[in-house]
């Protein structure tokens, strides 16, 4: 806030430019406040172990929020991401088991998992962009289809993932938890992705698809690529959740879809497309986790927890939208 008064521009000028450049700043602020509050009520929750646990747990949702962000960039939405997570989860677990659980089988299964996510993404892209069905309803329909497939692959939860896989995910190398390496790798990937032509094109399509088309951009192909990227990141989310749960469950991702949408919005991206950042979505996923924990740590009675959480998320959603807009307006 102080930047606004220092600025020589009209009030809000400095903040405006800052938020225009880093749209996730309001979310970051909310996340830091929540983190501090968590620490205040339960110091151990922000210890090294506590933070490691937080990252381990929510890396999947972060990945899924990233996945969702790429379609939201183009003004689309994907209500099937949770179902893709479930499908990839059961596919890789079944494959790892069938191939004996060796290191090679893990890598091969992950490869197939990525392809599965990619294929689901492309299906969504074709349905939404090429067949021009409305994204909300069409991806809801594909989510039912993918869930059916997941149930076909594994009718009931239970198959364990090989230890080689989840011990890596939960383990440490040189005293540093694996998930932190994963987070750093992710940061690099995202940095690289942000410089791609596709990222800019997705945002341009989200701004005004007709204008982008008339400018000569292959809009349909770009949107399909956005969905494909989304499918890939949903597969990564499935890897994380498989790493953290060490097993297959055909329903595991179902509830994650709406949380991924909420995370994107919390992170300051516009659902109408054309504006946003993946970093914001990652922070958004963290905010959801931090709210859930905080509600518990402050000692909310059990029957009130869901209500308080719901209210807190609603308020955070509103705050994100409002602060972001006020700064930009």
């Amino acid at each position: 806030m102080t930047t606004a008064t220092i600025s020589t521009q009209k009030p809000g000028g400095g903040l405006k430019r800052l938020v225009e450049r880093y749209p996730f700043l309001p979310a970051l602020l909310i996340a830091l406040v929540l983190l501090a509050l968590n620490g205040l009520y339960q110091p151990r929750s922000i210890s090294f172990i506590g933070i490691t646990g937080l990252v381990k747990t929510y890396l999947a949702l972060m990945m899924l929020a990233i996945a969702q962000t790429y379609v939201v960039y183009a003004g689309d939405i994907d209500l099937s991401v949770g179902a893709i997570v479930s499908l990839v989860n059961v596919v890789i677990v079944v494959l790892m088991e069938k191939m004996g659980g060796s290191g090679f089988s893990v890598v091969a299964a992950l490869g197939v998992g990525l392809l599965t996510g990619l294929a689901c993404g492309i299906v969504n892209g074709i349905v939404v962009a090429a067949l021009r069905l409305q994204a909300i309803v069409a991806t809801f329909a594909t989510s039912i289809f993918f869930t059916g497939l997941a149930l076909y692959v594994m009718p009931v939860a239970g198959t364990p993932a090989p230890a080689a896989f989840w011990r890596t995910y939960g383990g440490r190398f040189f005293e540093i938890p694996f998930v932190f390496y994963a987070a750093i790798l992710l940061a690099i990937v995202l940095y690289v992705l942000a410089r791609t032509r596709l990222a800019t094109q997705l945002l341009a399509v989200g701004d005004d698809a007709q204008a982008a088309f008339q400018s000569g951009l292959p809009v349909t192909r770009i949107r399909i690529q956005g969905y494909a990227l989304c499918g890939l990141f949903a597969a990564l989310a499935a890897f994380c959740i498989t790493g953290d749960t060490a097993s297959g469950d055909p329903l595991v991702g179902g509830k994650m879809t709406l949380f991924s949408v909420a995370a994107v919005v919390l992170g300051g991206s516009a659902l109408s497309g054309g504006f946003g950042t993946v970093v914001g979505s990652i922070i958004g996923a963290l905010i959801i986790g931090l709210i859930n924990s905080l509600v518990f740590f402050v000692g909310t009675p059990s029957e009130w927890q869901n209500l308080v959480q719901g209210l807190a998320i609603l308020i955070a959603l509103m705050a994100g939208v409002l602060v972001g807009r006020r700064a930009r307006a």
């Binding site: 939860a157 239970g158 469950d249 991702g253 509830k255 000692g299 059990s302």
Partner: protein, 317 residues
């Protein structure tokens, strides 16, 4: 000694779950008379699987002595339970079995639950007839175990034919709609095997079709259904999965924390970590008695039972 016990529930879409937590809280308070202070901390809200894993991690941060969980997934908690165990925390799951070797299951055997209803139905039908099944959420482990239970039983009756099986997501209205569709296209149904949460709906459709005298169907343990059952003299039978399972689990947990040892170690079930509680059964013979016991309770209250402290103590050396 004083213990802090964390209760985790990841789905709040059913009154059964609320009652489960309330009974567990009451059970904890009851330990006071024994001179044991049991403090419970609860996390109960709609969460996805990562959200419920976070519940467990929060309990670890909170430094609880034991965690009792009604899990959203049977298999998803293996690593985090291992972590809890490392931190010296006792982990017990209830209502749905978990695959973790670091946890103990205290609850009913869902397969036996399904089998009990099927057995009643098969016997009521005299071992022959057309049966339909209305199940909960496909792929949900409790559902699949119950399905395995009835399939095994019906398999023993060659003259019983399962003409269709559908899923109605443990939603009463969907159960009602499913039943209505099944009745329309299978006019010769004799029996319905339907899970709790949907049985009231299925029965509503049976009654609307005026077939209550010719169809036998499994039932619910909610008071409002029991009342209907008595009033309309339904031909029904209900396996009881009491919401008190979490209270039972809590009593077992406290005794374990006290350092007591089970007479028979918990090694039942597919994951070899289960300790099964008895499954009461309601049918025409005892339904009036059950109705009386439920007198004065709210309509959504489920018929329940739990291991008392004394019952639990009897299980330990």
């Amino acid at each position: 000694a004083d213990y802090k016990i964390g209760l985790s529930n990841g789905w709040v879409g059913s009154e059964w779950r609320t009652q489960m937590i309330e009974q567990a809280q009451a059970a904890a308070a009851a330990w006071k008379e024994k001179g044991v202070n049991v403090e419970v901390v609860v996390q109960s809200a709609n969460v996805d699987v990562p959200g419920q894993i976070a519940h467990v991690r929060n309990f670890i941060s909170e430094g609880v002595n034991a965690i009792i969980i009604n899990p959203n997934s049977p298999t998803a908690f293996d690593p985090v339970f291992a972590q809890a165990k490392e931190a010296g925390i006792l982990v017990i799951s209830t209502d749905a079995e978990v695959s973790s070797p670091d946890a103990t299951y205290v609850g009913i055997d869902q397969k036996a639950w399904g089998a009990a209803g099927a057995k009643w139905l098969a016997e009521t039908l005299g071992g022959k007839g057309n049966v339909v099944a209305i199940n909960g959420v496909a792929g949900h482990p409790a559902n699949e175990m119950r399905v395995a239970g009835y399939k095994e039983v019906f398999g023993q009756y060659p003259d019983i034919k399962i003409v269709n099986e559908v899923n109605a997501n443990w939603d009463q209205a969907q159960g009602q709609q499913a039943m209505q569709n099944l009745l329309a296209t299978n006019p010769d149904i004799n029996g319905v095997w339907v899970q709790d949460g949907m049985a009231a709906g299925a029965w509503k459709s049976i009654i609307d079709a005026k077939k209550q005298s010719s169809i036998a169907a499994t039932g619910e343990i909610r008071k409002d259904f029991i009342d209907l059952w008595v009033k309309d003299k339904l031909n029904s039978g209900a396996s009881v999965n009491p919401p008190g399972v979490m209270a039972s689990a809590l009593n077992v947990a406290v005794l374990m924390l006290e350092g007591k040892e089970l007479k028979e170690p918990a090694t039942a079930g597919q994951y070899k970590n289960a300790m099964y509680l008895p499954i009461p059964f309601i049918d025409g013979k005892n339904v009036d008695q059950v109705a009386k016991e439920l007198d004065g309770k709210p309509g959504y209250f489920s018929y329940t039972s739990q291991l008392s402290i004394a019952d639990a103590e009897a299980l330990f050396k």
